[in-house]
């Protein structure tokens, strides 16, 4: 394979019952990459996945897999395999026969088939259950069978359609770890569809966030989290305080040489007053912007701290104890509600409801969004 990309999508669009389900998607999935498509239900991520699998055909644009144009190529001739949301194991076949399905269809010689099935089952820790029927397995085991059934064919790309959705929370955490390890071991590119931002952040090398059929941002998890490009991304990935306002003052360039040089700006935020922030793009005085302020970046203190330039007084309305963290809802004098996440330690007592506190943060702790 000469190309570096496993999948290359160019201008992919799909109309569903008159609704633009997917629109102008350009994406590239690199060799060996764990790539997540993240978005709320109905954003088109599953449709996009199904177009890669060959279950739906795009109305416009092209999808290339391993350098080969997939236009008009039916699902059974594509070098991809899928893990379905409800696993879709064949109920009339044993675990081993489910895993062997693809190899049998391709008429793999029996000794090789047996060896590869055993190997695939071992790789998902199911060696002992080869003879069981799918109905006799737990949800977690079914998912492993689905993984083995796909990976045994050594596809160029593994497609996963919300594979954790049918599992309970505890199992989900274990499976995430396993999935990541497995992906490193087999070195196959994964295209993982999820609406769970935590899953995407934890698993993916890169994430594409989708909103109403379009990809709104592509980047590494930290980049998506730290530098969201739109209010939608900031809100969907992690928890954010999104505060509207406008630019009142543009100040000196901070880092001139860096790409996307940062500028210090002063904003007038609704309900907050004057706030200093850092902007990566040039913006005009008077422009409407939204400030994204992550709850864990806000420092709470009974008295002002010197080097935190932004400061606003509020009152604890609610304190939610979550074990390692405490989540506060803090009401400002203006009536605006701000969410603050603080780590919990028994040495430092939690703020009580009704208590007055200073919310403080540095200019670099927030992101200015123009969209």
């Amino acid at each position: 394979m000469s190309e570096q990309a496993t999948v290359r999508m160019e201008g992919v669009g799909k109309l569903f019952h008159g609704v633009q389900a997917v629109e102008g998607v350009d994406l590239e999935i690199r060799r060996g990459e764990f790539f997540a498509l993240l978005g709320p239900s109905g954003c088109g991520k599953t449709t996009l996945l199904r177009m890669v699998a060959g279950f739906e055909m795009p109305d416009r644009g092209s999808i290339r897999i391993g350098g080969r144009d997939m236009t008009g190529v039916p699902a059974n001739e594509r070098p991809v395999n899928m893990v379905f949301q409800q696993y879709a194991l064949f109920p009339h076949l044993s675990v081993a026969e489910n895993v062997a399905f693809g190899l049998r269809v391709r008429r793999t010689p029996e000794p090789e088939l047996r060896e590869r099935v055993a190997e695939a089952l071992a790789s998902v820790q199911l060696a002992g259950l080869a003879g069981r029927m799918p109905a006799q397995l737990s949800g977690g085991q079914q998912q492993r069978v689905a993984l083995a059934r796909a990976l045994v064919n050594r596809p160029e790309l593994l497609l996963l359609d919300e594979p954790m959705a049918a599992l309970d929370e505890k199992l989900r955490e274990d499976m995430r770890q396993e999935l990541k390890t497995l992906q490193h071991r087999v070195g196959i590119s994964f295209l993982y569809v999820t609406h769970d931002q935590q899953e995407a952040l934890e698993l993916a090398d890169r994430i594409a966030v989708m909103e109403r059929g379009k990809v709104v941002q592509v980047g590494a998890p930290q980049e998506i989290y730290e530098v969201p490009q739109t209010a939608f991304v900031a809100d969907f990935v992690g928890v954010s305080n999104l505060i509207p306002g406008k630019v009142v003052e543009r100040e000196r360039l901070l880092v001139e040489s860096a790409p996307g040089a940062s500028r210090r700006v002063v904003l007038a935020l609704d309900g907050f007053g004057r706030v200093e922030a850092v902007s990566r793009s040039a913006m005009e005085t008077g422009a409407r912007v939204t400030l994204c302020l992550r709850p864990e970046r806000i420092h709470l203190a009974a008295s002002p701290v010197e080097d935190l330039v932004n400061r606003v007084l509020g009152m604890v309305e609610r304190a939610l104890f979550l074990g390692s963290e405490i989540h506060y809802h803090i009401r400002l004098k203006s009536g605006t509600l701000v969410r603050v996440h603080d780590s919990y330690s028994p040495l430092q007592p939690a703020r009580r409801e009704g208590e007055s506190v200073y919310l403080q943060w540095r200019a670099e702790d927030s992101t200015v969004l123009t969209r």
Binding site: F55, A75, N76, M82, F84, A88, F90, P91, G102, R106
Partner: protein, 276 residues
């Protein structure tokens, strides 16, 4: 004395089956071993010859013909019902109810009326022959009615819903994602049919085959009206022995033999099904 709940629940149906099924069956068994009365009816003198007569070449041929025609009707029903059931099962949920209703509507009309309609279609001066002649395909009328082909057509027509309903029920339960999974694992549409759909449809197909075969073998109206006198099946033969020849002992022997044939057929079928 306290009666266990299981017994109390089972008692009414057991009594019903006992009085109206087991007792009459035992009576038939008894009658099959006695002689025919001089003016019909039963004379209670032992007679072991009733079963021997069945192996008479004449009656043997009737049995053979019945088994062949019922098997052919079953196979034809399965072949015809499968695509129909599949299409019904894959239709939008709302239209499925309507389609089911359409399958059932013929059942609301008496079978005799429907068979007379077939006679009208198939007879020498019937619609089919008129059409064939009008198109210049045949010169004179062709014998269609009163042939084995007509019986087969009638058995196929009358029993098709018995195949469609169980087949539809099992096809409808096949999740769409299973078909996609098969395609994803390189199976062509034909391979998907043989490796996934047919194995999953097996219970419905088996139930349909049993229903159609049993119903076809016991049918006497269809062979009587569409087959005429020379194409007698077991059903007609039994009916004739009871009602026309008034030879109840022989009729009883035939009935029990027919039951054995059906039982044997089902056993054979189960074997085949397990082997497949």
């Amino acid at each position: 004395m306290r009666v266990p709940a299981r017994v109390r629940l089972l008692a009414p149906p057991l009594a019903w089956i006992g009085v109206f099924y087991v007792v009459p069956l035992l009576l038939i068994l008894a009658v099959s071993f006695v002689s025919r009365g001089a003016y019909g009816g039963v004379s209670w003198t032992p007679n072991w010859g009733n079963y021997g007569r069945i192996f008479d070449s004449l009656y043997g041929a009737v049995f053979f013909r019945s088994i062949v025609l019922s098997t052919a009707a079953t196979a034809a029903c399965a072949l015809l019902a499968f695509p129909v059931s599949w299409w019904m099962a894959r239709s939008p949920k709302r239209s499925q109810e309507t389609l089911l209703l359409l399958v059932l509507i013929p059942f609301w009309t008496n079978i005799l009326v429907r068979l007379y309609a077939w006679m009208f279609l198939l007879s020498g001066a019937g619609l089919l022959n008129s059409a064939l002649q009008a198109l210049g395909l045949t010169r004179g009328p062709v014998d269609i009615l009163y042939t084995r082909g007509a019986i087969l057509l009638g058995l196929l027509y009358g029993n098709l819903p018995l195949m469609i309903l169980p087949l539809y029920a099992s096809l409808e339960r096949i999740d769409k994602s299973l078909l996609e999974a098969a395609r994803d694992l390189y199976a062509s549409p034909a391979q998907t049919l043989f490796r996934v759909i047919l194995p999953l449809a097996k219970p419905g197909l088996a139930a349909g085959c049993i229903l159609v075969f049993t119903s076809a073998l016991c049918d006497f109206a269809t062979p009587d009206l569409l087959g005429g006198a020379k194409n007698m099946l077991v059903g007609n033969l039994i009916q004739q022995q009871y009602l026309v020849a008034r030879d109840w002992p022989f009729g009883s022997a035939l009935s029990l033999t027919q039951m054995l044939v059906i039982g044997g057929g089902l056993l054979l079928f189960r074997r085949l099904e397990k082997a497949a």
